[in-house]
């Protein structure tokens, strides 16, 4: 029963994830088996397109459409000889968005699901080789994924002529070494090639020229994890999982000072109120809700008045934010909004790859101004500076989406919490300080102890 309503997480076991044989006993690898035995790659692509699956990494791009840009299907296409021989499928498991921990749950709890999903994805785009690009900090996930991959090789679910078919696919785990920008798909590709992981210019898109110049698809872990279930139960079942236009389930999460932080797989489009009050138990005792980021650090703040917004891509953007990763970061009334935004901007300043000027110089500039305001030495014109920075770093003016992502919480905070900013400046102090949090007055430092960005 639970598979029908919670397909992604019903087999999760964090203590001891299912071995290959147990996973198969619970219905695993049926999706992959169906794909490689019964369907042509084109049929799988059509099925995934029909299902309406959208990327769960933050951007919400339709998965079928992303795949369809890969040159393929020599048998149905007249441009036979233009289909490249080597293609790659990469699982983006570089989960570093602050406030996001959903992929970790899937990676540690049911590693075979991702392996199965990658077999399906690779079969569809005819990829010969796959990489799971895992963030370096997820040591347990690395161990469990490698174990799952080894088992899959032993049972001929990976390697040459998988399950007696003509399809061959090799899968490897690549562990990164800690850098947020590697989650951007072209930066991830540079990282995999052993280069400094600056994002690349697009076009060419990775589907045409990605890893080592070959067609490459990069999908988020949660996105991929839907594939075995779509194959097994069909597109209509997948659509019926959700009551609105965005199909399937979504792993929602809540963190901050709420009663029971955690994550829950729910129908896509569950309201913020239901996630926050029914599942996370509401605010911790004595605290009131001030606002929240609906999908990780790089989304705009929403307010208590937005609580009834369904958490799907369209509704959240109509409310003025982005669904992002679906992880609520909840701001309570005893935490200073200016300090929270300062913390977020420090993160982006540290993680900026330094390639383009608006981001390399803009994010530390915002940190400097916000630090001043938070410490009570801000000036009235600082607010204008912040507004200007939001414009300098906005979409279209930067090399990738990191700086615009930093702007989102900043500009929405300036809109919703402007009184707090003004009070800091007028009173020359932060009025939240009495609650015992010593806000850091030290300079922003990189992990090596040096001042960032020279």
């Amino acid at each position: 029963m639970s598979e029908v309503i919670r397909p992604l997480t019903h087999l999760v076991n964090l203590q001891s994830p299912l071995s290959l044989s147990d996973y198969i006993r619970e219905g695993g690898y049926q999706g992959a088996s169906k794909a490689i035995h019964d369907y042509s790659p084109k049929q799988v692509l059509d099925l995934v397109s029909d299902s309406g699956l959208k990327g769960r990494g933050g951007a919400g791009f339709p998965t079928g459409m992303k795949w369809s840009c890969v040159p393929m299907f020599p048998d149905t296409d007249d441009s036979n000889d233009e289909v490249p021989e080597f293609k790659y499928l990469v699982a983006n498991a570089d989960e570093m968005e602050p406030g996001t921990f959903k992929d970790r749950y899937l990676l540690e709890g049911v590693p075979h699901q991702l392996v199965e999903a990658m077999i399906i994805g690779a079969y569809t785009i005819a990829a010969n080789r796959g990489y799971i690009f895992l963030r370096g900090e997820y040591h347990l996930a690395a161990k469990r994924l490698q174990q799952a991959i080894d088992e899959a090789y032993q049972q001929n679910w990976l390697g040459k002529n998988i399950q007696g078919t003509s399809f061959s696919f090799d899968l490897y785990v690549h562990t990164s070494a800690g850098r947020y920008i590697c989650g951007e798909e072209t930066a991830l590709i540079n990282a995999l090639e052993g280069r400094r992981a600056n994002p690349r210019a697009k076009p060419p898109f990775p589907q045409m020229s990605g890893l080592f110049g070959q067609p490459t698809v990069v999908n988020n872990v949660e996105t991929l994890s839907n594939l075995p279930h779509i194959l097994k139960h069909g597109a209509d079942w997948f659509k019926a999982l959700s009551p609105n236009s965005d199909p399937g389930t979504k792993i929602y999460a809540a963190c901050g000072r709420v009663k029971s932080p955690g994550l829950w797989e729910l129908p896509m489009g569950t309201t913020i109120r239901e996630v926050l009050y029914q599942h996370a138990g509401g605010m911790a005792d004595g605290l009131k809700l001030r606002g929240l980021l609906p999908g990780g650090a790089s989304t705009d703040f929403l307010l208590p008045e937005h609580l009834d917004t369904p958490m799907d891509f369209d509704s959240i953007s109509k409310a003025g934010s982005r669904l992002g990763t679906g992880g609520l970061i909840v701001l309570d009334d005893k935490n200073c909004p200016v300090a929270m935004v300062l913390n977020l901007l420090k993160f982006f300043a540290q993680e900026s790859c330094g390639f383009c000027t608006p981001c390399r110089d803009g994010t530390p500039w915002a940190v400097e101004v916000l630090t001043r305001i938070e410490n009570g030495t801000g000036r009235k014109e600082d607010l204008d500076t912040l507004h200007n920075l939001c414009d300098f770093m906005w979409l279209g003016k930067t090399h990738c989406a990191l700086a615009p992502g930093a702007v989102e919480p900043l500009k929405s905070a300036l809109r919703y919490f402007i009184d707090d900013f003004e009070q800091h400046i007028d009173n020359g102090c932060c009025s939240y300080q009495q609650q015992g949090f010593t806000q850091q007055n030290h300079a922003v430092q990189s992990s090596h102890g040096g001042q960032i960005h020279g």
Partner: protein
Amino acid sequence: MEYNMSSMPQINIVNIDYRQYLSATEIASIEHEVSIMETREAAGIEALKIVQEHRGWVSDDSLYAIADLLNMPEAELEGVATFYNLIYRQEVGQFVIHLCDSVACHLTGYQQIYQTIKTHLGIDYGQTTPDKKFTFLTNVCLGGCDKAPSMMVGKQHYQHLTPENVVKILTGLANLESENV
């Protein structure tokens, strides 16, 4: 103007094969990583991590040796090494503490944990204790937001930190080390 080549002082060029700075085990592990990538330099991060696993950190000699082994310019590998938070280009203590300072831990008061560690060990971010047991660094979101505040020491994640239990954890690690010795 004419130069008489024979009267020019002789410059002795010494070619050092930096590979001598790597152990056979390290070279074998790195070559295995190379074998699953398309190019030698693509194994750069793995190679840095392998050497770090054996030696605790990546010295200049190690970096030059890896660059030689992977047939790539040292500067390029240095660009990769310094890009990442988990590659240590300075000597670190036996236990490297990565305290999460991202937003969920900020909202749940990692600042108190920071103060506690700082006071308990007497070191700030980027520093190592004189006995070389602990190095203290920050880390961006460790993905433990529902159990914040959170930190990582070596490969171990610690969650639900309080000023009390973090001292216990550090004391436990310090004792663990002396037992091994």
